[in-house]
Assembly symmetry: C2
Homo-oligomer: 245 residues x 2
Amino acid sequence: MSANQQLLNNIAIVLLNPKYPENIGSAARAAWNMGITRIIVVGDEYPDHTRMAKLATHNAAHLLDKMEFHENLPDALAPFSQVIGTTARRGRQRIPAKSPRIIVENILPLLPENEVAFLFGPEDSGLSSEALQYCQQTSAIPTADFSSLNLAQAVSIHCYEIFHAVVHEQKEPLPAYKIANSRETENMFHHLDRTLSHIDFLKEKSHDYYMRNIRQFLGKVQMSAKETSLVRGICRQFIANAKQK
Amino acid sequence: MSANQQLLNNIAIVLLNPKYPENIGSAARAAWNMGITRIIVVGDEYPDHTRMAKLATHNAAHLLDKMEFHENLPDALAPFSQVIGTTARRGRQRIPAKSPRIIVENILPLLPENEVAFLFGPEDSGLSSEALQYCQQTSAIPTADFSSLNLAQAVSIHCYEIFHAVVHEQKEPLPAYKIANSRETENMFHHLDRTLSHIDFLKEKSHDYYMRNIRQFLGKVQMSAKETSLVRGICRQFIANAKQK
């Protein structure tokens, strides 16, 4: 195994509310083919193992054994410093989607020191705007008009692009730098939210609108954990110095 | 539809002896998602339509209606000027396999004026050496060790690379030049075979060995139809001037 192949351990496929356990199995098999072994499922209940295993086939069965399960998305995403939302809809969402090839180029420098999640929505509806708020980038596979890629195909093409760039193109070992994970940035956003609400910058009507803009703006900056602490320190100071209510 | 998207009409997915009609359906759906609509099946009997249609889904059902069926491979490949054999085995075959991305780069300049086939073998065994003889290039998808891509996934990733290069990267309209099709090169090989046997260069024991080498060598040259005629003219002349037997 090359040094770069080990970087694949820093990548996870996160499936949000998949409807059919079979699709989890197919997705696991597709990921395994490209050296990616970490599958995380977020849903209301643990998916049926037999139905998953049938399509994982014996090749990828061990991925299901160590599969992570979470009941809510923020918990599932906590360790990840970069979350890529995958979507079929191009041009309509707030963060313009890029092709998987460009996305993988973007995350390459992060891989040695950070964990990266590729987030896939339910088969029928895809990722909601709420789920997309946790994503720093969105990826859309270029397809013909009126196409309909299934979940396993979307996972397969993303994992193929990852393997191609990380292992097949055999780049030199990548330089390393570490950025904040989702838990740390979410804590910062909560702190900002509290602070901006406290000083009445965020009001009930415009609260979501402004917070979305702030999340987007700061999402583009790859902040270190230290920088998120700095922002929180500033928030604390603001609150301490604000008028009593 | 962009000018380049129309070039996808010059590409066909050829499935040699697929075992399960369902996989033809999945492959058709994968091709359709990437704007490729020409499916050719080579086999002993016409595959069960209901079983194919189930996995093609309504999106790609019309591809099955116009699907071509042949009982032998040379007939199926006749119109194609370039045949790409797809294989999971790397490094063991006579023509070293390239990645689909490199293959697609190679065929791009051919697309405006020539038809190109991507040939996929049966699910379990892949393409035989005999089938690989009709291929000018071989393509292997980079994967992790011990992976097992299914037929539809292999078709999907090849079609994705094609769509990405031909349509998504929106190249300028490609310059055009026409090369010989498989019928024309096969006729030339038959003529060469006859001629070389006539002058006792090809003997029973070494016949296959030398013909394979000649096919490989000439397969690398992208000959025009006129050049294949030239070779045949030379063959004719050789035979006319050879000693009577």
